[in-house]
Symmetry: C2
Subunit: 213 residues, 2 copies
């Protein structure tokens, strides 16, 4: 598994050109969706909603909202990771209900945990920049997703270069209390994408890792 | 691989109690370090430094900086993901040099890319909250790391509950222009950690995934 992991992470790259003819098989995409769903988040709050855009017209119209980056239209599945604009007591209560149901315990038995979340994310330190906090969680999902995709031999291109207001508008997110955090076209590289062949550039181990013995 | 991925993500959980006697084998840890190093980031800028704390005295002293969470002291390897407090032209120039060297191209040939980064991260929109942006990248690393650890059968517990000023002080980060973004004790669960046995709670697929056909 060690070798598989590292060769997959070496193999992946920010794909500049997707093969329009190649579609991700349903079983692989279902696994990626499930991987997204299982992503860990702080307090388990999952302050996200994942949009999977397969509609070609919509993908085409999102290109100009992505500074002309064509991958958005070419890819097989366009993943748009959105987050809740604000987190309120309702969100926490809903989460507590899901935990109670999953574990077969009472809501009351989770009061301490509920108050801890409320006192941090809703009324406490994390609420100062609740949207920023939600986006951090979204990036855990992005990191998890990209690694899982690579392991399945599926290409993607994480993108911060987009106009969130335009994505939000085209997807009708604002009225649902959501906003776009990050975008990730997913599919398969073309045989001619020269970026696939350039050696991967990273800082050396000694520069980014420091061990304290 | 699909089944391996999903069973690993199901198997993992935020470990509440680590076995102090169980050390992560060197080859596994080396793979996790390499996975961290290979983490994708926006513009490839890698605005991070990963600290691996193995020193028991230091781990012990970080418990109170983590609101008493004992995993910090019990774990085999304490991963502390730190980020640069500010990103300047020097950081961009260094990154451009590394790309040029890796790919065997001239610095001049990367001028367009260099200016794009400077006009966004150093002097443009991302510089408004440069630290917040750097932390987003750190969370990609966290997501990648947790998935890789799970695939290697290694436990971890991502933590936002710590006093960053105290971590920064104990690790001498401020004077190096770094600050703690997120912490992740890593090792092996104890046989008695009851949290390992509670069913994983997540929102249902229909709640977090929306497909637009």
């Amino acid at each position: 598994m060690r070798d598989t992991l590292l060769s997959s992470l070496q193999w992946r790259y920010a794909t500049k050109s997707f093969d329009r003819e190649k579609e991700i098989p349903a079983e692989d995409w279902a696994a990626l969706e499930e991987a997204l769903r299982l992503t860990p988040s702080s307090y388990g709050l999952q302050p996200w909603k994942f949009f999977v855009i397969r509609n070609q017209e919509l993908k085409d119209s999102l290109v100009s909202a992505s500074y002309g980056q064509g991958q958005v239209a070419e890819c097989s599945h366009l993943l748009v990771i959105t987050v809740k604009r604000t987190l309120g007591q309702d969100d926490v209560d809903h989460w507590i209900e899901v935990i109670a149901e999953t574990r077969g315990v009472t809501i009351d038995s989770l009061a301490f945990f509920r108050n801890m979340i409320l006192g941090d994310v809703v009324n406490g330190p994390r609420s100062v920049d609740g949207l920023g906090w939600a986006k951090l969680q979204a990036y855990i999902a992005l990191g998890n997703f990209m690694t899982c995709a690579a392991l399945l031999g599926i290409d993607c291109c994480p993108m911060e270069g987009f106009v969130s207001e335009r994505y939000d508008g085209l997807l009708g997110l604002a009225e649902r209390g959501l906003t776009t955090a990050v975008v990730c076209p997913t599919g398969y590289r073309t045989a001619t994408d020269k970026h696939a062949l350039t050696p991967k550039a990273r800082f050396g181990r000694e520069e980014v890792i420091e061990t304290i013995l």
